[in-house]
C-alpha cells in the first residue's frame, strides 16, 4: 500500500506530517509509545520511518497522532 503521503520504502514505510498540523509535542508523545519509529525533519514536515512490512502500523500511527495532536492543540 502506497499513497502520496504514506510511501513504501526499502525496509518499511515513510509518512510526512506537516508540523503546523501535528505539533512536536504530539510527535514526541507518539515516539514514546513506539520507540522503533525514526523521526526526522524535512522542511516544514516531520518524517516518520516505520520499519517492517506491516502496512497497518503507519495507519494506526495516524490514529494515535490525530488523538495526540487534538489533545496537545487544546492545551
Amino acid at each position: 500500500m502506497s499513497t502520496p503521503f504514506i510511501r513504501k520504502e526499502k525496509g518499511g514505510f515513510l509518512i510526512n506530517l506537516h508540523q503546523a498540523l501535528y505539533p512536536g509535542s504530539a510527535v514526541d508523545a507518539f515516539q514514546k509509545t513506539d520507540p522503533h519509529v525514526v523521526v526526522g525533519r524535512k522542511g516544514a514536515y516531520w518524517s516518520l520511518r516505520f520499519s517492517g512490512s506491516d502496512a497497518i502500523r503507519p495507519l494506526e500511527a495516524l490514529d494515535q497522532l490525530l488523538f495526540l495532536s487534538k489533545g496537545h492543540r487544546s492545551k
Binding site: M1, S2, T3, P4, F5, I6, I15, L17, H18, A20, L21, Y22, A44, L59, L62, D63, L66, F67, S69, K70, R73, S74
Partner: protein, 137 residues
C-alpha cells in the same frame, strides 16, 4: 452528478478552509469518526487543510467524506456556542458552587480582603524605600 471529492488509492480528500472551520473542529470531527476511518492531515495551501480519509472496512468514499463534513459542521457550531456561552456558564457554575457551600463566599471575601491588604503594604514599602527629597534653602 460527478463527485466533488478527490480520490486516490482508497483515500478521499476533503479540503477545509481554516477561515471557516477552526482546526480544533477538524481534529474533533476526525476524532469522533476514528472508528470509521483513518485520517491524514496536510496543508493544501496557506488557509486550507487537506483531510484525507481512508475507510476502516467497506464504505463508500463519497459518503464518508459527506459524513465528515457533517461532523465538521457539528463541531464548528459546538465551539462557536461554547465561546458565546462561556461567561454565562462560568456565572452559573459559580452560583451553583456557592449555593452548595455558603462558607465559600465568606472565604472568598476574606481572601480578597487579605490580597488588598498585602497590596497596600507593598505600596507602602515602595513609598518608604524612595529616598527623601532634599529641601530647598
Amino acid at each position: 452528478m460527478k463527485s466533488k471529492f478527490v480520490k486516490a488509492d482508497g483515500w478521499v480528500k476533503v479540503v477545509v478552509q481554516t477561515k471557516v472551520y477552526a482546526l480544533q473542529a477538524v481534529y474533533s470531527a476526525g476524532y469522533v469518526m476514528m472508528d470509521k476511518a483513518y485520517f491524514y492531515l496536510d496543508m493544501d495551501s496557506k488557509d486550507k487543510v487537506a483531510v484525507w480519509l481512508k475507510p476502516k472496512g467497506k464504505a463508500d468514499l463519497d459518503q464518508l467524506a459527506m459524513d465528515f463534513c457533517q461532523e465538521l459542521l457539528n463541531y464548528a457550531h459546538y465551539f462557536a456556542s461554547l465561546k458565546v456561552n462561556a461567561e454565562s456558564m462560568k456565572l452559573l457554575l459559580q452560583r451553583a458552587l456557592f449555593s452548595a457551600a455558603p462558607s465559600l463566599v465568606k472565604e472568598a471575601e476574606e481572601k480578597e480582603i487579605q490580597d488588598l491588604i498585602k497590596e497596600l503594604e507593598m505600596e507602602e514599602e515602595k513609598e518608604n524605600k524612595k529616598p527623601a527629597k532634599k529641601g530647598k534653602k
